[in-house]
């Protein structure tokens, strides 16, 4: 199939970007979206032009590196799918596809379609971990975990930190990401010890980074390639209230 691409090209964070139109020719419907871009880049190399920069790593939907806004939707039109797992069979011959980077002030463009997502790393550093004591490793089955808690924690642990939630949100809110981490760690006994500080510190860092506020529209949930739900945000809202009142009382 042949496609017309409107791609956001931007040299670096300081220069203004613009859309440039490219023709993608002889694209197989079996290709992934990123492979289609590889083909376009091969052509650009041949003609001596600068390649289109985009983030990618595992190309199997689990690393969270890729992230393109395809026709206005983060990771494209297919639900629960990362850009790398989106295949060209979901497009038609002759389609025009607009490709943009994540748009959010805390995710500045580095180049073309690549954005700087280190704001997420700083949020994780603020509390998205479980401290582990040294010493003999405890038996894995010594601590009982209710099935329901384990299921919810594992669902939240699906988050790959790609930032599609921020990209989809009209307010560039990071609450789905942060709440997934808070649920994932806070629901499990090992993570409960630090649960209060985790929520207080991660939310403080999230605010510090300049992410917007949740208006409960559910865009994040719809765009999330890992189907993280709004229930996590509600849980974070509850945990935050509990933590802040407790911190005041103690």
């Amino acid at each position: 199939m042949n496609l017309t691409l409107r791609v956001w090209r931007q040299k670096n964070a300081k220069t203004a970007g613009q859309f440039v139109t490219y023709q993608a020719r002889d694209i197989s419907s079996e290709m992934s979206f990123l492979e289609m871009l590889d083909v376009v880049n091969e052509e650009l190399i041949k003609s001596g032009e600068e390649q289109i920069a985009f983030d990618h790593d595992c190309r199997e939907g689990i690393c969270g590196s890729c992230g393109l806004v395809i026709n206005g939707t983060p990771h494209g039109p297919l639900a629960a799918t990362t850009s790398c797992q989106l295949h060209m069979r979901f497009f038609k011959d002759g389609d025009t596809i607009t490709i943009e980077p994540w748009r959010a002030a805390p995710f500045p463009v580095i180049k073309d379609l690549v954005v700087d997502r280190t704001a997420f790393d700083r949020i994780i550093q603020a509390g998205g971990y479980v401290s582990v004591s040294t010493g003999g490793a405890p038996d894995g089955n010594a601590v009982s975990i209710p099935k329901d808690d384990a299921d919810k924690a594992m669902d939240a642990a699906q988050c790959i930190g790609c930032g599609a939630c921020v990209a989809a949100c009209k307010n560039a809110s990071a609450m789905l990401f942060v709440s997934a981490k808070i649920s994932h760690l806070g629901l499990l006994p090992q993570g409960k010890v630090e649960a209060d500080h985790r929520v207080l510190n991660m939310v403080a860092q999230m605010d510090e980074e300049g992410f917007g506020n949740c208006t409960n529209t559910g865009s994040c949930e719809a765009a999330c390639p890992k189907e993280i739900t709004l229930d996590n945000i509600a849980r974070m809202n509850r945990s935050y209230a509990k933590a802040i009142f407790k911190s005041k009382l103690s």
Partner: protein, 237 residues
């Protein structure tokens, strides 16, 4: 170590200030004040529907509301404070949201969100303009001071006549009806959303809160619009 730093911060800054400075804390403020205002519009409609019981009922109700100045002014003060907080918080949140998302996407439609959700700030602003007009119309009297001077045979303020005269003007009535349409839009998202902000909504209860919000918003819309419509159609004279 972090725990002691945390509690020291907490004691020195105060809970309210900390809540106010955080994104989630501000959402609590939006939710709680929103819930308060939702309660108010329900009571307000219930009171106004007494117009269907005739002049005596609604005039007596009007007198009752104004019988104790201390209670009246306390209630007015609390309401005003809630409105002010709701608006102030909304402004701050919206400013932060716009700053966080300065560039819009060139292509496509917004993902998943509804019209009511995306227009909540605009519907809120127009409702504010309406509230100011409404207070001027029926409470302060800058639209038509005469409306507030009507008295019934018992010497009470003639609320019934004020409403009938006030809504006999089709332009004013249409403005009221449009404003109620915006309130419908605002509440159809807001009432469900506030429970999410307070952490009380989940996938399981979403359906309930969504129906509650849309149902209550529709009942309020129909109830409120029935009054000017009945007057314009001559059902209430």
């Amino acid at each position: 170590m972090a725990a002691s730093a945390e509690s020291m911060q907490a004691s020195s800054r105060g809970l309210i200030l900390r809540l106010w400075r955080s994104s989630i804390g501000k959402k609590y403020v939006m939710a709680v004040t929103g819930l308060g205002l939702f309660g108010f519009v329900i009571i307000h409609l219930a009171g106004n529907l007494q117009i269907y019981l005739g002049p005596n009922a609604i005039n007596a109700y009007g007198k009752l509301l104004k019988s104790n100045p201390a209670v009246l002014w306390s209630a007015r003060f609390v309401l005003l404070a809630i409105v002010a907080l709701h608006i102030l918080t909304a402004i701050q949140l919206t400013k932060a949201n716009r700053k966080a998302r300065p560039v819009k996407y060139a292509a496509g439609k917004p993902v998943a969100s509804t019209f009511a959700q995306r227009t909540i700030v605009i519907s809120g602003l127009i409702i504010l303009a309406f509230i100011i007009f409404h207070l001027g119309h029926f409470t302060i009297g800058f639209v038509d001071p005469q409306l507030l001077e009507y008295e019934d045979i018992l010497g009470r303020h003639d609320v019934y006549r004020m409403m009938v005269t006030g809504f006999s003007n089709p332009i004013i009535s249409i403005f009221y009806i449009i404003s109620m349409g915006l309130l419908l839009l605002h509440l159809s998202h807001g009432v469900s959303s506030l429970f999410q902000s307070l952490g009380l909504r989940s996938k399981k209860t979403f359906g309930f809160f969504d129906k509650l919000a849309k149902g209550a918003a529709l009942v309020l819309f129909l109830g409120n619009c029935s009054i000017p419509l009945s007057i314009l159609l001559g059902i209430i004279k």
